[in-house]
Protein backbone atom coordinates (compact mmCIF):
# COMPACT_ATOMS: atom_id res chain seq x y z
CA UNK A 1 0.00 0.00 0.00
CA UNK A 2 2.61 2.49 1.09
CA UNK A 3 4.93 1.49 -1.73
CA UNK A 4 2.11 1.99 -4.23
CA UNK A 5 1.28 5.41 -2.79
CA UNK A 6 4.94 6.43 -2.92
CA UNK A 7 5.20 5.38 -6.54
CA UNK A 8 2.13 7.42 -7.45
CA UNK A 9 3.44 10.46 -5.58
CA UNK A 10 6.77 10.23 -7.41
CA UNK A 11 4.86 10.19 -10.69
CA UNK A 12 2.89 13.27 -9.63
CA UNK A 13 6.08 15.04 -8.56
CA UNK A 14 7.56 14.33 -11.99
CA UNK A 15 4.63 16.19 -13.49
CA UNK A 16 2.28 13.36 -14.41
CA UNK A 17 -1.02 15.00 -13.60
CA UNK A 18 -3.11 11.92 -14.37
CA UNK A 19 -1.38 9.91 -11.66
CA UNK A 20 -2.94 12.28 -9.14
CA UNK A 21 -6.39 10.88 -9.89
CA UNK A 22 -5.25 7.57 -8.39
CA UNK A 23 -4.38 9.35 -5.16
CA UNK A 24 -7.78 11.03 -5.12
CA UNK A 25 -9.48 7.66 -5.63
CA UNK A 26 -7.54 6.14 -2.74
CA UNK A 27 -8.25 8.85 -0.20
CA UNK A 28 -11.42 10.62 -1.29
CA UNK A 29 -13.77 8.74 1.06
CA UNK A 30 -11.60 9.28 4.13
CA UNK A 31 -11.04 12.96 3.41
CA UNK A 32 -14.71 13.47 2.64
CA UNK A 33 -15.71 11.69 5.84
CA UNK A 34 -13.46 13.89 7.99
CA UNK A 35 -14.72 17.03 6.25
CA UNK A 36 -18.34 16.03 6.60
CA UNK A 37 -18.02 15.09 10.25
CA UNK A 38 -16.28 18.38 10.97
CA UNK A 39 -18.77 20.54 9.07
CA UNK A 40 -22.00 18.57 9.18
CA UNK A 41 -23.00 19.72 5.72
CA UNK A 42 -22.75 17.86 2.42
CA UNK A 43 -21.95 20.87 0.24
CA UNK A 44 -19.35 22.29 2.54
CA UNK A 45 -17.82 18.85 3.01
CA UNK A 46 -17.47 18.46 -0.75
CA UNK A 47 -16.01 21.95 -1.08
CA UNK A 48 -13.47 21.44 1.66
CA UNK A 49 -12.40 17.96 0.61
CA UNK A 50 -11.94 19.03 -3.02
CA UNK A 51 -9.97 22.04 -1.86
CA UNK A 52 -7.83 19.76 0.30
CA UNK A 53 -6.88 17.66 -2.73
CA UNK A 54 -6.17 20.76 -4.80
CA UNK A 55 -3.86 22.09 -2.12
CA UNK A 56 -2.18 18.72 -1.83
CA UNK A 57 -1.54 18.76 -5.58
CA UNK A 58 -0.20 22.30 -5.64
CA UNK A 59 2.04 21.76 -2.63
CA UNK A 60 3.12 18.21 -3.44
CA UNK A 61 6.76 19.39 -3.57
CA UNK A 62 6.61 20.22 0.15
CA UNK A 63 5.38 16.75 1.08
CA UNK A 64 8.08 14.78 2.90
CA UNK A 65 8.18 11.28 1.39
CA UNK A 66 9.36 9.79 4.68
CA UNK A 67 6.10 10.60 6.39
CA UNK A 68 2.69 9.09 5.91
CA UNK A 69 0.79 10.68 3.04
CA UNK A 70 -2.59 10.27 4.73
CA UNK A 71 -1.33 12.22 7.76
CA UNK A 72 -0.28 15.10 5.55
CA UNK A 73 -3.53 15.02 3.61
CA UNK A 74 -5.68 14.86 6.77
CA UNK A 75 -3.76 17.80 8.13
CA UNK A 76 -4.63 19.90 5.09
CA UNK A 77 -8.27 18.81 5.28
CA UNK A 78 -8.73 19.43 9.02
CA UNK A 79 -7.04 22.82 8.79
CA UNK A 80 -9.36 23.81 5.94
CA UNK A 81 -12.40 22.56 7.85
CA UNK A 82 -11.39 24.44 11.01
CA UNK A 83 -10.83 27.62 8.96
CA UNK A 84 -14.27 27.16 7.44
CA UNK A 85 -15.88 26.76 10.86
CA UNK A 86 -14.16 29.92 12.12
CA UNK A 87 -15.29 31.96 9.13
CA UNK A 88 -18.86 30.74 9.31
CA UNK A 89 -21.53 33.22 10.23
CA UNK A 90 -23.01 32.73 13.68
CA UNK A 91 -24.44 29.27 13.34
CA UNK A 92 -27.84 28.03 14.36
CA UNK A 93 -28.45 24.72 15.99
CA UNK A 94 -31.12 22.29 15.00
CA UNK A 95 -32.81 22.48 18.36
CA UNK A 96 -32.97 26.29 18.30
CA UNK A 97 -36.44 27.65 17.98
CA UNK A 98 -37.46 28.89 14.54
CA UNK A 99 -38.00 32.64 14.88
CA UNK A 100 -41.62 33.66 15.38
CA UNK A 101 -42.83 30.22 16.31
CA UNK A 102 -43.44 28.45 19.55
CA UNK A 103 -42.44 24.88 20.02
CA UNK A 104 -41.05 24.57 16.52
CA UNK A 105 -37.39 23.70 16.16
CA UNK A 106 -35.28 23.28 13.05
CA UNK A 107 -35.46 19.55 13.67
CA UNK A 108 -39.12 19.52 12.71
CA UNK A 109 -38.24 21.00 9.33
CA UNK A 110 -36.56 17.81 8.15
CA UNK A 111 -38.70 16.17 5.53
CA UNK A 112 -39.96 12.93 6.95
CA UNK A 113 -39.92 9.94 4.66
CA UNK A 114 -42.96 7.77 5.31
CA UNK A 115 -41.93 4.91 3.08
CA UNK A 116 -38.95 3.77 5.12
CA UNK A 117 -39.33 0.68 7.30
CA UNK A 118 -39.15 1.37 10.99
CA UNK A 119 -35.69 0.00 11.73
CA UNK A 120 -34.26 2.01 8.84
CA UNK A 121 -35.85 5.12 10.26
CA UNK A 122 -34.31 4.31 13.61
CA UNK A 123 -30.95 3.76 11.95
CA UNK A 124 -31.23 7.03 10.02
CA UNK A 125 -32.27 8.93 13.13
CA UNK A 126 -29.36 7.41 14.99
CA UNK A 127 -26.95 8.57 12.29
CA UNK A 128 -28.41 12.05 12.30
CA UNK A 129 -28.29 12.13 16.05
CA UNK A 130 -24.61 11.13 16.13
CA UNK A 131 -23.71 13.85 13.65
CA UNK A 132 -25.77 16.33 15.61
CA UNK A 133 -23.95 15.45 18.82
CA UNK A 134 -20.58 15.71 17.09
CA UNK A 135 -21.51 19.15 15.78
CA UNK A 136 -22.28 20.33 19.30
CA UNK A 137 -18.70 19.68 20.37
CA UNK A 138 -16.30 22.63 20.21
CA UNK A 139 -14.20 22.24 17.01
CA UNK A 140 -11.00 21.40 18.86
CA UNK A 141 -12.59 18.43 20.63
CA UNK A 142 -14.56 17.58 17.50
CA UNK A 143 -11.47 17.06 15.34
CA UNK A 144 -9.79 14.87 17.95
CA UNK A 145 -12.89 12.69 18.46
CA UNK A 146 -13.49 12.30 14.71
CA UNK A 147 -9.91 11.29 13.99
CA UNK A 148 -9.82 8.90 16.94
CA UNK A 149 -13.18 7.16 16.69
CA UNK A 150 -14.30 7.63 13.12
CA UNK A 151 -10.95 7.30 11.36
CA UNK A 152 -9.44 4.87 13.89
CA UNK A 153 -6.14 6.72 14.00
CA UNK A 154 -3.50 6.36 16.68
CA UNK A 155 -2.84 9.14 19.16
CA UNK A 156 0.55 9.69 17.52
CA UNK A 157 -1.01 10.14 14.10
CA UNK A 158 -3.65 12.50 15.48
CA UNK A 159 -0.93 14.55 17.17
CA UNK A 160 0.89 14.78 13.81
CA UNK A 161 -2.27 15.78 11.96
CA UNK A 162 -3.31 18.42 14.49
CA UNK A 163 0.27 19.51 15.15
CA UNK A 164 -0.24 19.15 18.90
CA UNK A 165 1.60 17.20 21.58
CA UNK A 166 0.17 13.75 22.27
CA UNK A 167 -0.75 14.84 25.83
CA UNK A 168 -2.92 17.65 24.46
CA UNK A 169 -4.62 15.26 22.05
CA UNK A 170 -5.41 12.95 24.97
CA UNK A 171 -6.91 15.78 26.97
CA UNK A 172 -9.08 16.81 24.03
CA UNK A 173 -10.29 13.28 23.51
CA UNK A 174 -11.06 12.93 27.24
CA UNK A 175 -13.04 16.19 27.28
CA UNK A 176 -14.82 15.36 24.06
CA UNK A 177 -15.79 11.95 25.38
CA UNK A 178 -16.96 13.46 28.62
CA UNK A 179 -19.11 16.05 26.85
CA UNK A 180 -20.69 13.40 24.66
CA UNK A 181 -21.36 11.12 27.63
CA UNK A 182 -23.08 13.89 29.54
CA UNK A 183 -25.53 14.60 26.75
CA UNK A 184 -26.07 10.90 26.13
CA UNK A 185 -27.11 10.51 29.77
CA UNK A 186 -29.32 13.57 29.63
CA UNK A 187 -31.14 12.52 26.49
Amino acid sequence: MDAVVKKIILEVKKGNQNAFSELVELYKDKVYQVSYRMLGNVHEAQDVSQEAFLRAYINIETYDMNRKFSTWLFRIATNLAIDRIRKKKPDFHLEDQVAGTEDLTYYSQFASDDELPEDQVVQLEMQEWIQHEIMLLPPKYRSAIILKYMQDLSLKEISDILNLPVATVKTRIHRGREALRKRLNDS
Binding site: N16, Q50, M126
Partner: protein
Protein backbone atom coordinates in the same frame (compact mmCIF):
# COMPACT_ATOMS: atom_id res chain seq x y z
CA UNK B 1 -19.36 10.94 37.25
CA UNK B 2 -16.57 9.03 38.92
CA UNK B 3 -16.36 9.16 42.68
CA UNK B 4 -13.23 11.33 42.67
CA UNK B 5 -10.88 13.12 40.33
CA UNK B 6 -8.20 10.50 40.56
CA UNK B 7 -10.49 7.75 39.37
CA UNK B 8 -12.06 9.98 36.72
CA UNK B 9 -8.58 10.37 35.28
CA UNK B 10 -7.88 6.65 35.58
CA UNK B 11 -11.07 5.72 33.74
CA UNK B 12 -9.98 7.81 30.75
CA UNK B 13 -6.47 6.41 30.83
CA UNK B 14 -8.01 2.95 30.97
CA UNK B 15 -10.06 3.68 27.86
CA UNK B 16 -6.94 4.95 26.08
CA UNK B 17 -5.21 1.69 27.06
CA UNK B 18 -2.69 3.93 28.70
CA UNK B 19 -2.59 2.36 32.20
CA UNK B 20 0.05 0.26 33.87
CA UNK B 21 -0.86 -3.26 34.92
CA UNK B 22 -1.02 -2.10 38.53
CA UNK B 23 -3.36 0.82 37.74
CA UNK B 24 -5.52 -1.51 35.70
CA UNK B 25 -5.84 -3.95 38.62
CA UNK B 26 -6.58 -1.05 41.01
CA UNK B 27 -9.31 0.32 38.80
CA UNK B 28 -10.88 -3.06 38.15
CA UNK B 29 -11.07 -3.87 41.86
CA UNK B 30 -12.35 -0.37 42.61
CA UNK B 31 -15.15 -0.68 40.07
CA UNK B 32 -16.52 -3.78 41.77
CA UNK B 33 -17.10 -1.75 44.92
CA UNK B 34 -17.88 1.69 43.46
CA UNK B 35 -21.14 1.96 41.53
CA UNK B 36 -20.42 5.54 40.39
CA UNK B 37 -17.14 4.68 38.73
CA UNK B 38 -18.60 1.52 37.22
CA UNK B 39 -21.40 3.53 35.63
CA UNK B 40 -18.94 6.17 34.43
CA UNK B 41 -16.85 3.55 32.65
CA UNK B 42 -19.92 1.82 31.20
CA UNK B 43 -21.40 5.10 29.93
CA UNK B 44 -18.16 6.18 28.33
CA UNK B 45 -17.77 2.81 26.62
CA UNK B 46 -21.32 3.13 25.34
CA UNK B 47 -20.60 6.66 24.07
CA UNK B 48 -17.56 5.43 22.20
CA UNK B 49 -19.48 2.53 20.72
CA UNK B 50 -22.18 4.92 19.46
CA UNK B 51 -19.67 7.27 17.87
CA UNK B 52 -17.90 4.34 16.28
CA UNK B 53 -21.19 3.08 14.88
CA UNK B 54 -21.40 6.17 12.68
CA UNK B 55 -21.58 4.82 9.16
CA UNK B 56 -18.68 5.30 6.85
CA UNK B 57 -19.27 7.89 4.24
CA UNK B 58 -18.44 7.86 0.59
CA UNK B 59 -17.44 10.86 -1.46
CA UNK B 60 -19.94 11.87 -4.17
CA UNK B 61 -19.72 9.97 -7.48
CA UNK B 62 -18.11 12.67 -9.58
CA UNK B 63 -15.64 13.65 -6.87
CA UNK B 64 -12.41 12.58 -8.60
CA UNK B 65 -13.46 14.08 -11.93
CA UNK B 66 -14.29 17.36 -10.19
CA UNK B 67 -10.93 17.51 -8.49
CA UNK B 68 -9.07 16.65 -11.68
CA UNK B 69 -10.91 19.33 -13.65
CA UNK B 70 -9.90 21.95 -11.09
CA UNK B 71 -6.19 21.16 -11.13
CA UNK B 72 -4.06 23.89 -12.68
CA UNK B 73 -3.65 23.24 -16.40
CA UNK B 74 -0.35 21.76 -17.36
CA UNK B 75 1.57 23.67 -19.98
CA UNK B 76 2.12 22.02 -23.34
CA UNK B 77 5.83 21.87 -22.59
CA UNK B 78 5.18 20.07 -19.32
CA UNK B 79 2.92 17.51 -20.92
CA UNK B 80 5.52 16.91 -23.59
CA UNK B 81 8.20 16.49 -20.93
CA UNK B 82 6.05 14.00 -19.04
CA UNK B 83 5.35 12.06 -22.19
CA UNK B 84 9.05 11.96 -22.97
CA UNK B 85 9.87 10.70 -19.51
CA UNK B 86 7.33 7.97 -19.87
CA UNK B 87 8.64 6.92 -23.28
CA UNK B 88 12.42 7.24 -23.05
CA UNK B 89 13.00 4.76 -25.87
CA UNK B 90 11.21 6.91 -28.38
CA UNK B 91 13.60 9.73 -27.60
CA UNK B 92 16.63 7.45 -27.77
CA UNK B 93 15.50 5.95 -31.05
CA UNK B 94 14.83 9.40 -32.50
CA UNK B 95 18.28 10.64 -31.53
CA UNK B 96 19.96 7.58 -32.99
CA UNK B 97 17.99 7.85 -36.19
CA UNK B 98 18.96 11.49 -36.55
CA UNK B 99 22.65 10.71 -36.01
CA UNK B 100 22.40 7.89 -38.50
CA UNK B 101 20.82 10.06 -41.18
CA UNK B 102 23.39 12.80 -40.64
CA UNK B 103 26.35 10.43 -40.82
CA UNK B 104 25.00 8.62 -43.88
CA UNK B 105 24.35 11.92 -45.57
CA UNK B 106 27.83 13.23 -44.84
CA UNK B 107 29.49 10.01 -46.02
CA UNK B 108 27.36 9.96 -49.16
CA UNK B 109 28.01 13.54 -50.13
CA UNK B 110 31.61 13.95 -48.99
CA UNK B 111 34.39 13.40 -51.48
CA UNK B 112 32.03 13.63 -54.42
CA UNK B 113 34.91 14.79 -56.55
CA UNK B 114 37.47 12.14 -55.83
CA UNK B 115 37.40 8.82 -57.60
CA UNK B 116 38.00 5.99 -55.19
CA UNK B 117 39.03 2.60 -56.47
CA UNK B 118 39.46 -0.59 -54.48
CA UNK B 119 40.84 -3.64 -56.14
CA UNK B 120 43.99 -5.70 -56.73
CA UNK B 121 45.56 -5.38 -60.15
CA UNK B 122 46.50 -2.87 -62.75
CA UNK B 123 44.06 -0.15 -63.80
CA UNK B 124 44.18 3.35 -65.13
CA UNK B 125 42.30 6.22 -63.58
CA UNK B 126 41.30 8.81 -66.18
CA UNK B 127 40.53 11.91 -64.11
CA UNK B 128 39.29 14.00 -67.05
CA UNK B 129 36.70 11.53 -68.30
CA UNK B 130 36.11 10.31 -64.75
CA UNK B 131 36.55 6.75 -65.85
CA UNK B 132 38.53 3.85 -64.39
CA UNK B 133 39.87 1.77 -67.19
CA UNK B 134 40.94 -1.85 -66.92
CA UNK B 135 43.23 -2.10 -69.97
CA UNK B 136 43.16 -5.05 -72.31
CA UNK B 137 45.19 -7.99 -71.11
CA UNK B 138 45.10 -6.88 -67.48
CA UNK B 139 43.40 -8.88 -64.75
CA UNK B 140 41.90 -7.72 -61.47
CA UNK B 141 42.26 -10.71 -59.18
CA UNK B 142 39.52 -9.86 -56.64
CA UNK B 143 36.48 -7.61 -56.39
CA UNK B 144 36.54 -4.14 -57.85
CA UNK B 145 34.80 -1.21 -56.15
CA UNK B 146 34.71 2.18 -57.83
CA UNK B 147 33.18 5.25 -56.25
CA UNK B 148 32.35 8.54 -57.99
CA UNK B 149 33.29 7.35 -61.42
CA UNK B 150 32.52 5.09 -64.34
CA UNK B 151 34.25 1.83 -65.17
CA UNK B 152 35.35 0.60 -68.50
CA UNK B 153 36.38 -3.02 -68.55
CA UNK B 154 38.55 -4.05 -71.46
CA UNK B 155 40.50 -6.66 -69.53
CA UNK B 156 39.35 -9.23 -67.02
CA UNK B 157 37.85 -9.01 -63.55
CA UNK B 158 37.71 -12.24 -61.56
CA UNK B 159 35.48 -10.92 -58.74
CA UNK B 160 32.41 -8.71 -58.59
CA UNK B 161 32.26 -5.14 -59.81
CA UNK B 162 30.47 -2.54 -57.76
CA UNK B 163 30.07 0.95 -59.14
CA UNK B 164 28.91 3.61 -56.71
CA UNK B 165 27.58 6.78 -58.32
CA UNK B 166 28.72 5.79 -61.73
CA UNK B 167 28.17 3.43 -64.65
CA UNK B 168 30.06 0.50 -66.02
CA UNK B 169 30.85 -0.22 -69.64
CA UNK B 170 31.85 -3.68 -70.58
CA UNK B 171 33.85 -3.80 -73.77
CA UNK B 172 33.34 -6.80 -75.99
CA UNK B 173 36.84 -7.95 -75.23
CA UNK B 174 36.39 -7.53 -71.47
CA UNK B 175 35.33 -10.25 -69.12
CA UNK B 176 33.84 -10.18 -65.64
CA UNK B 177 33.60 -13.41 -63.69
CA UNK B 178 31.34 -12.14 -60.86
CA UNK B 179 28.31 -9.87 -60.70
CA UNK B 180 28.17 -6.28 -61.81
CA UNK B 181 26.33 -3.85 -59.60
CA UNK B 182 25.64 -0.14 -60.05
CA UNK B 183 24.71 1.89 -57.01
CA UNK B 184 23.36 5.37 -57.56
CA UNK B 185 21.01 5.81 -54.59
CA UNK B 186 21.53 6.18 -50.90
CA UNK B 187 19.40 3.22 -49.93
CA UNK B 188 21.09 0.91 -52.41
CA UNK B 189 24.43 2.08 -51.12
CA UNK B 190 23.34 1.49 -47.52
CA UNK B 191 22.27 -2.01 -48.34
CA UNK B 192 25.61 -2.61 -49.99
CA UNK B 193 27.47 -1.28 -46.93
CA UNK B 194 25.47 -3.47 -44.56
CA UNK B 195 25.96 -6.54 -46.73
CA UNK B 196 29.69 -6.00 -47.10
CA UNK B 197 30.02 -5.35 -43.37
CA UNK B 198 28.38 -8.67 -42.56
CA UNK B 199 30.32 -10.57 -45.21
CA UNK B 200 33.50 -9.06 -43.74
CA UNK B 201 32.48 -10.22 -40.30
CA UNK B 202 31.71 -13.70 -41.55
CA UNK B 203 34.98 -13.97 -43.45
CA UNK B 204 36.81 -12.69 -40.36
CA UNK B 205 35.18 -15.38 -38.25
CA UNK B 206 35.92 -17.96 -40.92
CA UNK B 207 39.56 -16.99 -41.06
CA UNK B 208 39.74 -17.17 -37.28
CA UNK B 209 38.26 -20.64 -37.41
CA UNK B 210 40.78 -21.65 -40.03
CA UNK B 211 43.53 -20.34 -37.80
CA UNK B 212 42.32 -22.20 -34.79
CA UNK B 213 42.07 -25.38 -36.83
CA UNK B 214 45.61 -24.83 -38.04
CA UNK B 215 46.80 -24.24 -34.48
Amino acid sequence: MACNKEFAEKVHKYLDEDVTLLEKKQLESHIIKCEKCEKQLRDLKKTIAIIQSASHMEAPNNFTANVMSQLPKQSYKNKWKTWMRRHPFVLTAAVFFLMFVISVHSVWTEGNKEIIVKGDGHFIVDEQRRVVVIPEGQTISGDLVVKNGNVEVNGEVLGNITVIKGEQYLASAGHVAGEIQEINQVLEWLWFQTKSFFSDVISFIDSNDDKSIND
